[in-house]
Structure formats: structure tokens, C-alpha cells
């Protein structure tokens, strides 16, 4: 695993205890904690790519992390083109890979 979330009990910033939630990403459950963005849940679980580019079929995930680059677009609960780095994850969110730019 490359990217990861700092375990709460070992974090010098002492975040409150986890409040686990699960989202479903391309049919697979991925665990996170309440308050994370969808990108945060994915990166925290070691997933770094979740979109395929239209022209080159290349994998993409987060690049700018603050809503500027649109690399991180996903479909959330049937709605396309949601920036994963901005959207807070909700329990049960169904996240689907997008196969191209809008």
C-alpha cells in the first residue's frame, strides 16, 4: 500500500476516534471514517487511481487535491462529474469509475 491514513491512535494531532463508514467503489466496499472526502477514503485505503482518461485510457486520481484540476472526477450515486477531493463521503455512497472527461 502506498498512500495511507495515519492511524488515529498514532497521530500526533490526536484526531477523535474513527467513526467507520463504508462506501462502494466499482462494486467493492471501501472503508473510511466519517468526515473524509471520497478521495480521502480512497487514498486512505491505498487506492490512488479511479478514473480512466477518454483519449489515452490512462489512470488518474488526485492531482491538485483542492478542486482545481478535475482529475479526480467520479460518478457518485448516479451523478457524474463529482470532484472526489471535495465531496464528503456518506455511508453507502456508490462510487463508479468514469471512463472519460465530460
Amino acid at each position: 500500500m502506498t498512500s495511507y491514513r495515519v492511524p488515529a491512535e498514532r497521530d500526533p494531532a490526536r484526531p477523535a476516534a474513527d467513526r467507520p463508514l463504508t462506501i462502494v467503489v466499482d462494486g467493492e466496499p471501501v472503508a473510511g471514517t466519517a468526515g473524509q472526502t471520497i478521495a480521502g477514503v480512497l487514498l486512505g485505503a491505498g487506492r490512488r487511481e479511479w478514473r480512466t482518461t477518454a483519449a489515452g485510457g490512462a489512470p488518474r486520481g488526485v492531482f491538485c487535491g483542492i478542486g482545481v484540476c478535475f482529475d479526480c472526477l467520479v460518478e457518485v450515486n448516479g451523478l457524474r462529474d463529482v470532484r472526489a477531493c471535495l465531496r464528503r463521503a456518506q455511508e453507502g455512497d456508490v462510487v463508479t469509475r468514469q471512463g472519460g472527461t465530460p
Partner: protein
């Protein structure tokens, strides 16, 4: 409360952006007697500098991750409790129109990119723009691989999510910002393999040290930077000037990078390349101001393409003030001071006395120091030597450097607009935020595409103009409400689905 009147009513001031500049502006405007609406697209206050864990996961020791965390706490608490201030999180200003001498803001309130967000139209008496900046990354071969991040992304994820973007991380680019990024990564437990700064030692030393009396005056920033340096020393992280990541390699994601020495002009020196294993790379070469609202309002820009302001932070457009990184890269201290001056002036208050006067002096000091440091790290033209024909320049449309050159040769045009239309570079969903300035430099600078004589010239058309700040869903445009001067308290409360998350 003192009434500042215009046409007999309290002045309505709208502040866009709740980073250091916007928070200070909102408080100053309210203190000067205005009715204030503070908007931010994000769901918490603090902007980029004070990005923090969400209320679902409050940190016991958040202050460990920030400088001046106490300043933020006090600003945020005071604003939330202030009877004349409406704080509106998750409020995205998606366009700005000019009308009968004033400006109108079109706002969508609700989940980012959501459907059925509430529309709000505001016609303020005075507007303070404090929209900040995003970091800028120059393209290099492999920068589109997962595992390559802007340095800001690494920072945002570390501060806002406690997520480390990798275990073995290379930090590279230019500027003092690389230091807090490396520190934040260390605080997530990641190994920082090295910090590679493109700037030359000579200009860095001059920029940082040639006027030590300014250092003394700006202890805030100097002390902050010293803290980051000591973090690097403690963790034995090498900091190497005159070096750059000139390529990232890997199948499907980053596995290694090539680091090379640079000459004075930032061109890689042949024979100095070395391969370094890493699972993440965080790269930033400076900042790009978020100018779209200022441009839509008609504000003049400076030659360096920031919003031009006078001593009172007034833009060239009557009724519009600007503060923070959209007026120049100055750091959080400068942003706070500018915000105080801008907010006071926007409310019709006196900037020559009290807090605004003190802030005015602090602003000059902080700006002088930060501008000098920033200048020492400025981008130099030789970087294009690390591009290859297959290097992606536009991340959205996957337009390569070779394709841009081909289009210039085929069409004989170096005008950004026509090159964009033919090559598709800059036409994707980010609206050229990632590649616009790079394209412009590739087309206009000396040694530019198709510039055999190295004479430079080429295009000057602005790539920063974006009438729609963000993509808007068609459904959101239906039934726009009637304009208001400020949201009524009821509207404000209704339109915070997630509440203020700070």
C-alpha cells in the same frame, strides 16, 4: 454598532473566500459597521493555510499542524458570533456580472458538484475578493501518473484528512512552500526522500538573507520557515538546491523519478541524472492566483498578473476590493493584514487609524519579505529542456508537447486561442487552470515553439478569463431567484445543509 451609511442604509459587504485574507476582511468590515456576508466554496473556514480536520473528527492537537492556529480560532469564533455577519459555507460563486455600476454574484449553495443546490443572487454595495491561489506545477515526462501530486495536494490531504500520499516521497519544485509540505508529510509518518529546489544558491541566499533587518521585522514568517527547516534537519531530510525532478517513471503509478542538476536557467545538466525510487512525488513551482471573479468584475491586473490594488486594497473597479494571494504571493501574515485593510475600506471605514493602520504597516513588512523570497524561486525559461515530444502538457485533453509544436508549425500561429482550438490543449474541464500559463509561456517565451530566432513575442491573450468559474449543472440554472443585497438570516440558515463544518 456604528451605522455606516450609503443612501441611508447599512452598507452590505460581501467577502468571497474564507482564508486568512477573507476572514480578516469580514471581521474588519463588520467592526467598521457593515453588514457582512462571508462566502466560501469549502464547507469549513480557514482557506488553504488553515485547512483542518472536519467536525466529525476534531483533532485534540490541531495546533500542532498549523502556525497561528489560535489566531484562526479567534477569528472564526468572533465571526460566527457576530450579529452583523452571515457565514455561508459550501457557497460557490460561479459567476459575476456587472450591472448598472455594481456587481452581481451568482452563487450555488450545497454539496460540491451536487444537484439541486440552492441558488443565491447577491448585489452587494461593496465586494471583497479573497479567492486565494492554487499551486502551479510545470509539466515533466510522467507527471500524469497516479502518485504524482501537486505539493498543495499533499499538504491539503495531510492537514485536512491526515492522509499521507505515499510512504517514500520526493518533494520538488521551487519556493518556500516546499518546506511546510515536507514538514506535513513527516508529520504523517511518511519518509521524505529529499526536497529538491530548482532555485540557485546565490539567488536563494540573496533573497532570504540580503536584508536581515526585514527578517527581524517579519519574525512571523521567518520563524515559521526556521521551524520547517529544523524539522528537515531532525529527520535528516536532504534539501538540495539547483535540482529538479525531470521525469517520473512507473507502470500505472509512480515507482521512481529522475532527478537532475539544473543550470542557472533551470535547464537540466546532461550527465547529472540519477534514478531515485519513490512511491509519491509532490511538485510545485509557485502559485497561480484565482482571478476569474476579479477578471469578470473588470479589475486591472499587474504585469505579473495579480489583481492590482492601491494602498487601501481597492481594485480599479469602484466598489471592489481585493486581498490575499490574488494580489500577490505574500503568505498568511500579508493576507491577514491586507484583509483587515480591505474590509475596513470596503465598509467605508478609516484605514488611516486603528487596526487598519497597524495592519497597513504589517502588510508592507510581510509583503517585502515574502516577495523577496518568492522572487528568489521564480521560474526560469530553461525548464522546457526537460520536456519530450510525448510529455503531456494539458492533463485534461492529454495534449502532448510534440502536438503543440506540430500545431504551431502547421498553422504558423502562436496565438494561444488558435493553438488551443487546434490542439485541444486547455479546453478540458479544468478550463486551462493547470496548463494555461505553461502554454502561454511555451508559445510566447524566448525559445518558444516555432521561435527559431529565439526572439520571444507570440501571444499575450489572457488565459485567465473564465466566465463560468466552475461547471454548473443545467438544473441549477432553472428558476434563478430574485437578486438580494444580502441573504436573510433565514435563507442563510436554510442553505447550510451540512451546517458550518468548521
Amino acid at each position: 454598532m456604528r451605522e455606516v451609511t450609503r443612501g441611508g442604509t447599512t452598507r452590505d459587504v460581501v467577502v468571497v473566500g474564507a482564508g486568512p485574507a477573507g476572514l480578516a476582511a469580514a471581521l474588519a468590515a463588520a467592526s467598521a459597521g457593515a453588514r457582512v456576508t462571508l462566502l466560501d466554496a469549502a464547507d469549513g473556514l480557514g482557506g488553504q493555510y488553515w485547512r483542518h480536520l472536519p467536525p466529525e473528527r476534531p483533532a485534540g492537537r490541531e495546533g500542532l499542524l498549523h502556525h497561528k492556529w489560535a489566531v484562526f480560532g479567534e477569528l472564526a469564533d468572533t465571526l460566527r458570533a457576530h450579529p452583523a455577519v452571515t457565514v455561508l459555507p459550501t457557497a460557490q460563486v460561479w459567476s459575476l456580472e456587472r450591472h448598472d455600476g455594481g456587481v452581481r454574484l451568482n452563487v450555488l449553495v450545497g454539496e460540491p458538484d451536487g444537484e439541486g443546490r440552492e441558488s443565491l443572487v447577491l448585489d452587494p454595495d461593496a465586494l471583497v475578493l479573497a479567492t486565494g491561489a492554487h499551486d502551479r506545477t510545470l509539466p515533466f515526462p510522467g507527471w500524469q501518473l497516479p502518485g504524482v501530486y501537486s505539493a498543495g495536494a499533499a499538504q491539503a490531504l495531510a492537514k485536512g484528512e491526515r492522509v499521507a500520499v505515499g510512504r517514500r516521497v520526493v518533494v520538488a519544485g521551487a519556493g518556500p512552500f516546499l518546506l511546510p509540505v515536507a514538514s506535513s508529510l513527516l508529520q504523517t509518518g511518511a519518509t521524505v526522500v529529499g526536497v529538491h529546489e530548482a532555485g540557485r544558491v546565490g539567488s536563494l541566499a540573496r533573497g532570504w538573507l540580503n536584508r536581515p533587518w526585514e527578517l527581524a521585522g517579519a519574525t512571523g514568517k521567518a520563524g515559521e520557515l526556521a521551524g520547517y527547516v529544523s524539522d528537515l534537519v531532525r529527520h535528516r531530510v536532504p534539501w538540495r538546491p539547483r535540482e529538479a525532478v525531470v521525469a517520473a517513471h512507473g507502470v500505472g503509478q509512480v515507482e521512481a523519478v529522475t532527478i537532475a542538476r539544473l543550470d542557472d536557467n533551470w535547464a537540466p545538466v546532461a550527465g547529472t541524472e540519477r534514478l531515485v525510487e519513490a512511491d509519491a512525488v509532490c511538485v510545485s513551482h509557485g502559485f497561480t492566483p484565482r482571478l476569474e471573479l476579479a477578471i469578470a468584475a473588470g479589475c486591472d491586473l499587474s504585469p505579473g498578473r495579480f489583481v492590482r490594488v492601491d494602498d487601501r486594497q481597492a481594485t480599479s473597479v469602484p466598489g471592489v476590493w481585493a486581498a490575499g494571494e490574488i494580489t500577490g504571493i505574500g503568505g498568511a501574515d500579508a493576507a491577514l493584514a491586507e484583509g483587515t485593510v480591505a474590509g475596513t475600506a470596503a465598509a467605508g471605514g478609516d484605514t488611516g487609524s486603528g487596526a487598519a493602520r497597524t495592519a497597513g504597516r504589517a502588510r508592507s513588512r510581510a509583503r517585502g519579505f515574502a516577495a523577496r523570497i518568492e522572487a528568489a524561486h521564480g521560474i526560469r525559461a530553461g525548464w522546457t529542456a526537460w520536456l519530450r515530444d510525448d510529455t503531456v502538457v494539458c492533463r485534461c485533453e492529454e495534449t502532448t508537447y510534440g502536438r503543440v509544436r506540430e500545431v504551431v508549425e502547421l498553422t504558423g500561429s502562436r496565438e494561444a486561442r488558435s493553438v488551443k482550438l487546434t490542439s485541444r490543449a486547455g479546453l478540458g474541464p479544468c478550463q486551462a487552470r493547470m496548463c494555461g500559463r505553461t502554454l502561454q509561456e511555451l508559445l510566447a517565451g524566448p525559445g518558444a515553439c516555432g521561435d527559431a530566432e529565439g526572439a520571444g513575442g507570440g501571444t499575450t491573450s489572457t488565459v485567465d478569463r473564465r466566465p463560468l468559474v466552475v461547471p454548473v449543472r443545467l438544473g441549477d440554472l432553472a428558476a434563478l431567484p430574485a437578486p438580494r443585497r444580502s441573504p436573510s438570516p433565514l435563507t442563510a440558515a436554510e442553505s447550510q445543509p451540512g451546517g458550518d463544518r468548521t
